[in-house]
Symmetry: C2
Subunit: 296 residues, 2 copies
């Protein structure tokens, strides 16, 4: 049965990659797409799977990455231990994506959905989180509502929302969050693989409707130089989180992953300013208060 589940989730993430690619093309007709298919070897030098990286560069979407991978094979004892595998081999598949729109009125969005097997253990991880730069609170509410509505029937919304609030945090910036959160889960296994498969297919299928309506709503909105300055500053914070704290980034780089596929998460442009603070009374100052956990 496990083989069938692996196959089904692997096919699912590739389908999702295509669907998200289509959604991006719909938003930005002239978007340039670079597709790279890459392969890897496992720690014994045997074929270990690979991935399909899609890098996007456009007008409405300044840069984006929508990647899938399916990797397997021998792994180090240390790595097996770290992921809780029962022997030194693994199998994993997933889709991960990051979308950095050019217009600062449109939030940046990140998501990933993955399945991992180590020996006879199977689990799922993933989530979706929003990083806005302008206090259009109704958009944040919309995003959180989709995830609340999706995850509540399964009984995990509060837990996964909290995990997200706790994960995407710049500890070195007085615990400011990267964005406004969303959901995040890891090492999930209910005991019923088939049920989990269906649940995470359902959950990941909600990504498009959680985010793209916001993009469409804001895409023609005018923005100011101040909006862009704030966006570029917050993108700097995004870089700080991804390079200083993100376990996925560190794990990928340390396990000799494909660097350009991993760091596709970084924004095309960003700024770093000593002791940055938004103008008093500006929408950006207002935005700052949303970068902390709250009920949605």
């Amino acid at each position: 049965m496990i083989e069938k589940i692996k196959e089904e989730f692997a096919a699912h993430v590739r389908l999702l990659q295509d669907q998200i690619t289509d959604a991006l093309k719909e938003i930005d007709a002239d978007i340039e797409i670079t597709e790279d298919n890459w392969q890897r070897k496992d720690t014994l030098g045997n074929p270990g799977g690979g991935g399909r990286t899609r890098a996007f560069s456009g007008n409405a979407i300044e840069n984006a990455g929508v990647n899938t991978s399916l990797v397997y094979g021998a792994t180090s004892e240390q790595f097996a231990k770290q992921i809780g595998a029962t022997k030194a081999e693994m199998w994993a598949t997933g889709v991960s994506l990051i979308i950095h729109p050019r217009n600062p009125r449109i939030p940046t969005c990140h998501a990933n959905f993955r399945m991992i097997c180590g020996g006879d253990k199977v689990w799922f991880g993933g989530g979706a989180d929003l990083t806005p730069f302008y206090p259009n609170v109704e958009d944040f509410q919309f995003f959180h509502d989709v995830w609340k509505e999706t995850c509540t029937p399964y009984g995990f919304y509060q837990d996964w929302k909290k995990q997200c609030d706790e994960y995407f945090v710049n500890k070195h910036r007085d615990n400011e969050m990267r964005g406004v959160g969303g959901i995040f889960y890891d090492h999930f296994f209910s005991g019923d693989m088939e049920k989990d498969l269906e649940m995470f297919k359902d959950i990941s299928n909600q990504f498009i409707r959680s985010y793209f309506p916001i993009v469409k709503k804001r895409i023609n909105e005018e923005f100011t130089k101040e909006d862009e300055d704030f966006q570029l500053h917050r993108r700097g914070r995004y870089v700080e989180f991804n390079l200083l704290h993100d376990r996925g980034t560190h794990f990928g780089l340390k396990s000799n992953g494909r660097t350009d596929s991993i760091l596709i998460s970084l924004p095309a442009r960003c700024n770093f300013t000593y002791c940055y603070s938004p103008k008093e009374g500006s929408p950006h100052e207002e935005m700052m208060k949303y970068y902390y956990p709250r009920e949605w």
Copy 2:
């Protein structure tokens, strides 16, 4: 005697901070300077010294930071062990600086010079390294010549040059260096504190003449859009190094240092581009070959 040496090196780094500040003002008459004096507590909550941060923002010099600090007091056992101190207390002073010129024909430069005492152990650390974006090889040669000439009489040039080549490396980018190197040393103690003090005063005094002549020579040089694109891309690599690999940055952030003073090292603007490669036959493609160790 150790008290006199501490006092002398602390005064020295503050003098150097003023001299480098003056050198920056000479280059960029209208440069804005923000000075922040900050204080810290030690791990027992007692006064633990502090620092003087100077952030620069100008035309010729896009952003720069020239910081001194003098910190002391109780520390964790773990930290004491890590720095090799004989008991859980420390004293440290130093100057650290980063200069990001706007013109891509002028290299970015970083240096720091510090003295650390842990229990009855004393040592020095520091160095200076250059990160150019345009293959003006004579400038790299000039910089390396100053350090070679300075450190050779002491017998340490080859060792410190090699340590620099090995330290400022983006391992996740196929071991590409951040720049073209310089010198780097750590945990240095010859057995004769007074001799070491004089040596490191002398060495740090050479910083201004190793770098500012290059700035002055290139400051009015025209540059192209392509030069700037390459600079912004390489500044992205600089950020990757500082946030992923730099021990000083990690140490500072983990030990609850002042975040804005630590991350003053990051460039005001930078870019990240999926699978970036410079144009074939361009000066930037030529520049790429200098980001690996070589004899100067």
